[in-house]
Every structure is written in C-alpha cells, then in structure tokens.
C-alpha cells in the first residue's frame, strides 16, 4: 500500500473533485524506469533491506520524479518477502551477554580492563560461535538486515505501471470518509464485504429511469 507522501503529490484538486495523476502505461520514460527497477530488484535477491534502500537512493539520484520512483519501488517491495537470516543463537541472547560488559573500548581502561576485542572473543567462546560472526549476528533481528528472498510475482514493466496506478486509486479511496456506490449486479459480494468490515451503510433503491 502506498503511503500518503507517495500518493498526495499525484493528486490534483479541481473544485470539489479530485483527480489522480495516473501514469501512461505506454510512455517510454515510465516503461524504462519500471524496467530498471524490476531488474535492480531481481539483482538484489539475497541482499539486505538496507542495501536495497541504498541502491534505490542511488538510482533516484537527482531525479525530480522521485515520488513515482519510490512509489513503483514500494509496489515491488510490498509484494516481496524479506526474511531474517537464521542464526544459531538468537541475537537478543548475544546482546544480553555482550552488553553486560559494556561500555567497552578498543584499549583497556582502568574500570574496564577487557578490550572490545577480548569481550567478543570471550562471549563467542561461551556461546560457541565463531567470533568473526558476532558482529553480523548482533542485530540480525533488525528488519534492515533482513534479506530479500522472494521478489514476489513476476512483473512486466507495463504490469508494474498498471499496478502502481491501481495503488494510487486505492490510496485515495482509503481516505474517503464515505463512498457512494451504485449497484446494478453482484450486490451479494458487496453485502458480504460490508458485513465483514462492519461498515456503516445506508441503502436506497435507485429510482427507475423513465419509460
């Protein structure tokens, strides 16, 4: 789902009507952007979420249409899965052990004769993991370190643009405090969802057209 900062700049208000600045799905500029992002995202499989964010920032560069770039990227990432890298010991446990020594320094101090290096060696030995891995495992439960392991459904550049447009529309509807819907068929489905989401509603028959 697109966040407000990604939707609002794409809206135009005229009088009491709101228009969504949707992308032309045949426009070469946008098709190229979508293709670039899809390719970058595929290349990022296995790498961390923080890395992906950095890559995106570099791709954005000084582009003025960064709101669209971010929106497209958000559509891609929302459908993908980042998962935590499995560690033999839970990071919180490593932290608890290590932090009970803190603060430590690179050189021995009067109040803390053990250096940072020695503390890490010691704790790594205690819990039975190689000391070079301690650093990487320390915060392995932070979402920023999660690795991209499923890029989600395969997208064509056209498909990504179309999905982005849909998400823009959804973003606008999400802010609506009331919606008027004319139902000509399929009212049972609508009924089902009204009930499911416990929406307040008001039903009126449509006046039959003349003749």
């Amino acid at each position: 789902m697109l966040t407000a900062d990604l939707v609002k700049p794409r809206l135009r208000l005229r009088g009491s009507e709101i228009f969504i600045d949707m992308l032309n799905t045949g426009d070469n500029h946008w098709l190229q952007t979508a293709a670039d992002l899809i390719a970058l995202f595929q290349q990022h499989k296995g790498q961390s979420q923080a890395d992906w964010e950095r890559t995106l920032e570099i791709y954005e560069g000084e582009r003025l249409d960064y709101v669209v770039v971010r929106g497209l990227a958000k559509v891609l990432t929302d459908a993908a899965t980042f998962t935590s890298v499995a560690t033999s010991v839970h990071p919180a446990q490593i932290r608890e052990r290590l932090f009970s020594y803190g603060p430590v320094f690179t050189t021995p101090q009067l109040f803390q004769p053990k250096t940072r290096y020695e503390v890490i060696q010691h704790v790594a030995e205690e819990i039975g993991i190689p000391s070079q891995q301690v650093g990487a495992m320390l915060f392995a439960d932070r979402p920023a370190t999660y690795a991209l392991n499923d890029t989600g459904p395969e997208r064509t550049p056209e498909g990504l643009l179309a999905r982005y447009n849909l998400e823009l529309a959804r973003g606008v509807l999400y802010w609506a405090t009331q919606v008027q819907i004319e139902v000509h068929s399929g009212y049972k489905d609508l009924w089902k969802y009204l009930k499911l989401f416990k929406l307040m509603f008001w039903v009126l028959p449509i006046e039959p057209a003349d003749g």
Binding site: E62, L64, S100, P103, L110, F111, F139
Partner: protein, 455 residues
C-alpha cells in the same frame, strides 16, 4: 411524548423531537434525529434542564476513594489543582517533565470522586499510569488498549484505542485526563476527545503546542479541554523537585574530509535557500516549501539532497564518536543515557561500545529488560534515538549525552527532563556535543535562548 437526550457512539442524540422543532447549535438534524458530538454535553446541560429534556447521557458512578499515597503534594502541585478547580475543573496544566504531573492527576481524581478515564500516548505510559493508580487508590484499575480490554470506573487507555473506548463507554466517565496533551491536535488522536461527553477535563504536558500547532483545522485543544490554567517552568522548579543540573556544550571539529564535503554541500543548500528567500517568504514552513519545490525544480532538488547529506554527515561525525568515548571514560562510575539523532548512529554506538540500544524497533520485552537492567545497575549505559523522549522514568541517570543539535526545542526539554527527576541532591549534567562551525551551533543557541525567554 417525553423527550430524552442519550449517548450513542460518541454523539448526543435527542429522542422525541422532530425536525420542525429547531434545536440550537451544535445540534444538527441527521438521519431522522437531532445530534451533535459528545463533547458539547457539559455546555448543554443547562439547556437540557431548561427544556425539561430527560438527561440519559450521564452513566458515571460515584467512587469511594481513599488515597493511600502518603507523600505530601508540593506547593505548586496544590496551586495547579486549585487553578483547575477554580476554572470549573477544565483546562491544561503545564509542568516540566519530572515535576509530578501524575500526582496532580491523582489528587484531581481524589477530589472529583467520579469515574475517570486517563488517556496516555504510549503503552509504556499506560502501564506506568496503571501502576501508579493501583498504588494510589488500592482499587482495581481497568486498561483498554490493543492487548487488553477491561473497562472499570477508573480506566487507563491510549490515544490510539480511546476512540473505540469512547464509542462504547464514553458516557461512563465524568472526568478525562489527557496525558501529554500536546498530542491532541493529531487528526485521529483527537477524535475521542470530540466523542466523549465527560464535562470535566484535564490536560497535562511539559510542552504545550505553539499557537499554530494547537489546532488542526477541525478542533483546538482549548476548545476540547479548556484553556491553559497553570504553568510552571523548569527554571522555577530546579532544586525544589528537580535535581540541579548544568548543561555543558562540547564543540568538536569536523575532520578535514568531513569539513570539505560539509562546506560543499552547505554552499549548494544555502545558496538556493537564500536566492529564493525561502525563509522570508514562508516563515517556519520554509522547509515544507523546499520539499515541495524539490519535486519540480532541479536546483531545489539538489539543495534538498545537499541538506540531507550534510545532516547525515553531522549526525555521525567522527569527532562525536571521539567525544563520546572520552565522556564514557570520564564518567566511569555514572549511569549514562546517550541520545542520538538517527537510528543508525544509535546502533553504531551499541556496536562499538557493546551497550544496550533502544529505538522504535526494540520490542517491548527487550525494552523492559534493558530499562530494568539499567535500574538494577546491570547496564551502565543506554543509547537511544528518540524513544525515551516522553515521560518514561529513568531516574538513575545523572549524566546525559546528546549527540547532535538538530532536534526541536520540544524534544530538548523532554530529554532534559529525563535525567532531572530528583533522587538525591546531586547535580545532573547534560552534555551537548555539537560540531563546530556548522548549522548545529546556530540551532543549539536558538534552543538556549528559548529556555531563557520569560513566558
């Protein structure tokens, strides 16, 4: 036909009065009945009486409360309570963090002796209120939030969940206490104050919003709660309830490489801002304008990116790490809180010095574990980005180190309060580490001026 006013889902509804019998504002005729938002109840009571409309709104109870807390209120707490009583039991009280706002609220509940709901901004604070109320009155206290929903005559809730609580149980509370009331202008958080019919209201905060932040277009804080009726500033309380403290500013130099890239980015940024006279034309909102322009104007975009780069550079300047190193060694026996501007810096410090870190990513259990450990002396240092800003008690710390000078005045005062709760008569120290000859110097000076202003 007998006419009745009753409470329904956050609104007041008049039963038995049809459309032709015009009712005064705020009533409006909607879906076959005269209705208005719940918060008008207090001002409508005389009208209901005069028109002999049966009042079926109030469902609050009398409470038989005995105060089990035997500490004596401070003079200013008594004054605050008296002002609130004199203002018809409505209005906001501004007291610095650590001055005992909770105790004022407890006294108010004791005076009113009617069903009361307390609204707190976070679940941590909800738990803190719960514990204080149970200790103060030795009765069962309800909580209403995502994790647990138990409504009792004394209930604590969060701004987030209060809307649901008010829709269903709004008419069962006569007094509402809004903790950290400056949150009220937030669009969804304020809704519940509109919905509640409670005629008695108290707002508590250390930092009342500036004039332009008090309203969000739909409501103003003073309209929902009453005006500010009591203010005590931090300077007036030093030594009485709060520990003496001193602020010490440490200026660090940027490294030659940092200086070079700072100067280059600063030039790009400031040239643009000056050439367009953004600050003159847009006042305090100039930064919003810069953001807006950066989506249409290439130069604005470059200026915005340059600003972002230089803020990042300042946030993790090497000199700040060195200064922190020195302070941690110098205060080897003290418990210390370290505040950083950015999450990444907080994690970096945790990684370098192996000290616990609390950010918005930290889960409830670990957070509690860290705070408990700090209280018990198991952890000597906590590093945090912006989480401990509001009213979570960490009274052990007597040294705070703020790395960076880019946060607003509000945050600064809240942070100050953190280490100031008086335990013994010991002086607290707040170190502010800022980069020399950068925009941090200007910002830090602005903050100090504000504190010295008489209000």
């Amino acid at each position: 036909m007998k006419t009745t006013a009753f409470f329904q889902g956050g609104t007041l509804v008049l039963q038995g009065i049809d459309e032709h019998e015009r009712q005064p504002a705020p009533f409006r005729f909607i879906k076959g009945k005269w209705r208005c938002e719940g918060y008008h109840y207090g001002s409508l009571v005389p009208y209901l009486r005069e028109r002999a409309i049966r009042d079926a709104v109030a469902r609050w109870q009398s409470l038989n409360l005995t105060l089990h807390e035997n500490r004596e209120p401070h003079d200013y707490q008594v004054e605050a309570l008296t002002s609130w009583e004199n203002a018809g039991r409505r209005g906001s009280i501004i007291l610095p963090t650590g001055a005992g706002k909770t105790f004022v609220a407890i006294q108010a509940i004791q005076h009113v002796k009617r069903s009361t709901v307390i609204v707190a901004p976070t679940i941590d604070l909800l738990h803190q209120w719960y514990a204080r109320l149970v200790n103060a009155f030795a009765i069962d206290v309800g909580v209403y939030y995502g994790g647990e929903k138990r409504v009792l005559p004394l209930t604590v809730t969060t701004y987030h969940s209060a809307g649901d609580l008010m829709a269903e149980y709004g008419s069962t509370f006569k007094l509402i206490i809004f903790d950290e009331v400056h949150h009220l202008p937030a669009p969804t958080w304020g809704e519940m104050a509109l919905m509640a019919p409670a005629p008695l209201r108290m707002g508590l905060t250390a930092t009342y919003p500036e004039e332009e932040e008090q309203s969000n277009g739909r409501w103003r804080i003073d309209e929902l709660i009453g005006p500010v009726i009591y203010t005590k500033r931090i300077e007036d309380l030093i030594g009485q309830q709060l520990a003496r403290y001193r602020t010490q500013r440490l200026r660090v130099d940027l490294s030659p490489e940092e200086r070079q890239s700072y100067d280059a980015d600063y030039a790009i940024y400031i040239d643009f801002v000056r050439s367009r006279q953004l600050q003159r034309h847009h006042g305090a909102r100039w930064i919003m304008e810069l953001m807006r322009l950066s989506a249409v104007d290439a130069q604005a975009r470059q200026a915005f990116l340059a600003r972002q780069r230089l803020l990042r550079l300042l946030a993790c300047a090497q000199g700040k790490f060195n200064a922190l190193d020195a302070l941690l060694c110098e205060y080897a026996t003290e418990q210390i809180l370290v505040f950083t501007e950015q999450n990444s810096m907080a994690y970096e410090i945790a990684y370098r010095h192996l000290v616990p870190v609390i950010t918005h990513e930290t889960g409830a259990a670990e957070r509690k574990h860290i705070l408990d450990g700090f209280q018990a002396g198991r952890y000597r240092v906590i590093v945090t980005s912006r989480v401990l800003n509001e009213g979570v008690d960490v009274p052990e710390a007597k040294v705070a180190i703020v790395l960076g000078g880019t946060s607003g005045a509000r945050e600064y005062i809240q942070r100050l309060g953190r280490i100031l709760r008086k335990v013994e008569n010991r002086e607290a120290v707040l170190f502010e580490v800022i980069a020399r000859k950068t925009l941090e110097e200007g910002r830090s000076q602005r903050r100090h001026r504000k504190r010295e202003d008489p209000c």
